[in-house]
Amino acid sequence: MNEIVDGFIQAVELIVSLDPEVLEITARSLLISLAATAVAALIAIPIGGYIHFREFGGKRGLVTIIQTLYALPTVIAGLFVFLLLSRVGPLGFLGLLFTPWGMVIGQTVLVVPLLVGMTLIALSGVEKTIQDEVISLGATSSQTIWTIVKEARFAILGGVILGFGRAISEVGAAMIIGGNIRGYTRVLTTAIALETSMGNIAFSIALGIILLAIALLVTTALFLVQER
């Protein structure tokens, strides 16, 4: 019991004293997950828009697959990207395995299905009358899509925030693809996993508090966005 209390006290000290290693890991986590979320948004929102506005065979099935991938285990995404990026894999020549860029790819793979799904939900939340109104005002197909996406922007932003939450909290892909290299690919989640197994409880708790604080921030942001 004492150990845990001590851990907490030391954790607070680490945070308050702005421990350089804690700061560095936090900054890297944020950068990698923000980058992954941004890339995922650039990919997922247009795909969501395409699926929503186009009729094609197998649409229903595709949406079901996307929804299933919401729950894609992070280690499987990690394994998949690991195989892609490994020396013998199809993208091995890029030399991205065990780099932050590789981790961005892994987290992007995790976030894209979720964000496509959220985009679909957001777009179907825009009333049909608005689409009619926009089309009858003389919008071209691309102007219509853009206007409806803008109309759904707060709901889509909600999806983006949720996607960021998934990216920053996952450990499987970051561990497998990044390799948890100190000072290079070590992020909050992988650091907690390692430090805990090494018995550095205080350090783990400090990182855990920070991770929870980020989660709290994300949730608050989501709440504020949905209030709009």
Binding site: D132, G138, A139
Partner: protein, 359 residues
């Protein structure tokens, strides 16, 4: 300019329009009247190329509306629609009204100028910064009208444009419609369930009944010369009788309706089975027989029912046949009428519209 040729429209199994053929000319104010749920909105959506006919064809300036997506956009950019329930997009009133101009890549100073002009036309000066989603139904309706006018359309489609408006705003919008037609020659196509509005505005009226066209004509034809029973009921011709022409003296016919003789101007020959239509407003009541009246018909009878209708009174009278009449409350009072009173119903031979029955 707009030509429907045997147009039918179904959504899945459900047929909403059946075999419509008519033509709308450039510069007309053309009104569709009919009960709600009879497909008036679908007609406007077909003209705006939001829908395509299931069968038949729609030509705009001689060209079929089944064209590429790009050409549909070009067609739509010549028109504007005000939907029955207009939608407000996120953002303020200015942004909502500017939308059509934005899509047409209009210069921003021009947008500024035309949006404030359009807001002025509908009486919403000073609303530019208001959040569109917080407007009342009537305000939103006027924003929608401004949004439609701002692109200076050749064809303006209005679906029940004044259904949400108070009488003052309604009058304003009706005057606006008339002045657009006069000043710019805009072709205006509107749907309404308000007969009187149809009559006030329209060059021509189409009555839509049972998913198809009941009758097309000017307001006199529609209101005084209905083609059949359904149209007559729709436009408030309450007196409809079956009869037989017993004699016809140079266009002045005597028609026997269940034993009651009525004199009407018509050309149908003796022995013809006919249907007789008369508007309730065309009957006047006399307390005693009036030798001076020019009306050919004076039928004695008893008032059986009185229903006040604002400034008017609607009455049923048993004169061998049951007549429905509407007179002003003032003349009702002056004549000292009441239920059970004995009166003469007087109406002109020319007030009666006679249609020969199909064999």
């Amino acid at each position: 300019m707009i030509e429907f040729s045997h147009v039918s429209k179904s959504f899945g199994e459900k047929n909403v329009l059946n075999d419509l053929t008519f033509r709308i000319e450039k510069g007309e104010i053309f009104t569709f009247i009919g009960p709600s749920g009879t497909g008036k909105t679908t007609i406007l959506r077909l003209i705006n190329v939001l829908e395509l006919p299931t069968s038949g064809s729609i030509l705009i300036d001689g060209k079929d509306t089944r064209v590429s997506e790009r050409d549909k956009v070009a067609l739509r950019r010549r028109m504007s629609v005000v939907f029955q329930k207009p939608a407000a997009l996120r953002g303020n009133v200015f942004q909502n009204v500017a939308l059509g101009l934005k899509f047409r890549n209009t210069q921003s100073e021009e947008i500024q100028r035309r949006v404030s002009e359009a807001l002025g036309l509908v009486g919403l000066e000073g609303y530019a910064e208001r959040k569109a989603t917080t407007l009342s139904g009537g305000e939103l309706q006027r924003v929608a009208i401004a949004r439609a006018l701002v692109t200076k359309p050749e064809i303006l489609l209005l679906d029940e444009p004044t259904a949400n408006l108070d009488p003052a705003s309604t009058e304003r919008i009706e005057n606006l419609i008339l002045s657009l037609s006069e000043k710019f020659g805009t072709t205006i196509i509107l749907s309404t369930h308000d007969m009187v509005q149809g009559q006030r505005l329209a060059t021509r009226i189409a009555v839509i009944l049972n998913r198809t066209l009941g009758q097309v004509g000017d307001s006199h034809e529609i209101f005084y010369q209905p083609k059949n029973r359904e149209v007559a009921r729709m436009v408030g011709v309450d007196n409809i009788f079956e009869g037989t022409v017993v004699s016809n003296d140079a266009g002045l016919a005597t028609i026997d309706i269940n034993g009651t003789p009525v004199i009407a101007t018509c050309s149908h020959l003796q022995g013809s089975r006919v249907t007789v239509y008369m508007r309730p407003e065309d009957i006047i009541f006399l307390v005693g027989k009036d030798g001076k009246s020019s009306a050919r018909n004076e039928l004695p009878g008893t008032i059986t029912r009185v229903t006040p209708m604002g400034p008017n009174m609607k009455m049923k009278m048993d004169a061998g046949i049951t007549l429905v009449a509407i007179i002003t409350r003032r003349s009702y009072d002056e004549l000292g009428l009441s239920k059970g009173a004995s009166v003469y119903a007087s109406f002109k031979a020319s007030a009666i519209h006679v249609v020969k029955n199909e064999e």
